[in-house]
Amino acid sequence: MRYSGLKVFLEGLTGNRGWKPVWRDPDPKQEYDVVIVGGGGHGLSTAYYLAKEFGVRNVAVLDKGWLGSGNIGRNTTIIRSNYLLPGNAHFYELSMKLWEGLEQDFNYNAMVSQRSVINLYHSDSQRDAYARRGNAMRLAGVDADLLDRKQLRRICPFLDFENARFPIQGGLRQKRGGTARHDAVAWGYARGADSRGVDLIQNCEVTGFRISDGVCTGVETTRGLIGAQKVAVCVAGSSSRVMALAGMRLPIESHVLQAFVTEGLKPVIPGVLTYGAGHFYVSQSDKGGLVFGGDLDGYNSYAQRGNLPTVENVCEGGMAMMPVIGRARLLRSWGGVMDMSMDGSPFIDKTGVEGLYFNGGWCYGGFKATPASGYCYAHLIARDEPHPTAAQMRLDRSISGRMLDETGRGPQPNLH
């Protein structure tokens, strides 16, 4: 069933009785060409691009819970490609280009809204750093412009420009950045994959890998043994637990990141804003709620909830940047479990086991990467060689010394 304005109109006239479930609920087959472990955004987009771009259709996506039950439903919906390092910039720009054509591509309204992302700066040295980043972005073919205080004041008059401690001097803007409707991204990819023959199997937990002589030939699950020529793991947040089943230790710690939303307000924030003197980022959803977040809680955690000192810290960041936010009432807060890698960058790579592939370590950045992560992972699985834009996202980069450390903080996961 194709969605269109006419379809919505006709259904409206006939009591909306014609809508049907958009994906099947199949039982697992005994054998697949590719089994993807993890039915979140990245797993579903991998399945979609495998089927659509690489002609691999005998694919199953397994999930322990329901589709999109992890971080694709718990993030702050920001999309951007304002990265500094070459190993990241081209990858995230590929993602941005895929975002731009996504809704037409999979015929689903993901509410992609390029309302711009602005990173604020508060000192001369920070302006220089952002000018450098903006230049690096432009060299990588990404749009960037540096705003001074006057230009920024026209766009965001409510900011605390005269803050005594951290006066706002301007910002680095990526106009093509913005937000997307997170759940709809998962649903759109799920529908697109299912309609091309991919089996989406929910409530099916992987309990082990079938590995003999260094070759992975399938997975053991709570719904029986499922054979596969290739097994692709895609379970950010739980990567260490799942890969431990295959005997691997990863350069990853799991940390909890909290997010917040206020009651619905009239439009006030024109795009995504990030604070430069602390860690705080905010946007406004189409329903009107201010969606914001900040730092990790900072300790290993698999609990999808955090502690109060971090709530206070995030809210202090918000108050310092835009005191007007103090008038908004907080509606909800929640937490998600992040794969924090040692250099703050992700992995899309083969493993030491033939036929076993790994995608994870997304830190804060998983949502914006969803399209490119799926595309590059599908490329790796189908052709057994990395996509050029993801060629540096290797599991062995800590051995080879080719780290992708955007912030230069070293191997301390809770600081990335």
């Binding site: 260490s240 637990r241 990863l250 350069p251 799991s254 300790y299 955690s301 502690n307 996961p413």
Partner: protein, 95 residues
């Protein structure tokens, strides 16, 4: 979270900074033949378990002691707090 400091009693976790897995106490032998590999694994690889986790916390806004805290990563419940110095000496380090 409240961390029950062995010397100072219950203290709020926000007085501390977090380093990570307490296996960082067991620094590899630099003289070993495979020292490079051992140090790589020591610096970069983590068990990252679900459930009980022994980890290093630094009492930055307190007595500046290092603690080994045994905490559940699923419930955040803290079951044991020791001075890292005692743990290190028990594991054969000089200090």
């Amino acid at each position: 979270m409240i961390i029950n400091h062995p010397l100072l009693g219950p203290r709020d976790a926000s007085e501390f900074t977090y380093l990570g897995d307490a296996s960082l106490i067991d620094r590899p032998d630099p003289e070993a033949d495979d020292a490079a590999k051992q140090f790589h694994d020591y610096v970069y690889l983590r068990d990252n378990p679900v459930g009980e986790h022994r980890e290093l916390w630094f009492h930055e806004h307190g007595d500046r002691s290092w603690l080994v805290v045994t905490r559940n990563t699923l419930t955040h419940e803290i079951t044991r707090v020791e001075l890292a110095k005692d743990v290190a000496i028990a594991r054969g380090r000089r200090r």
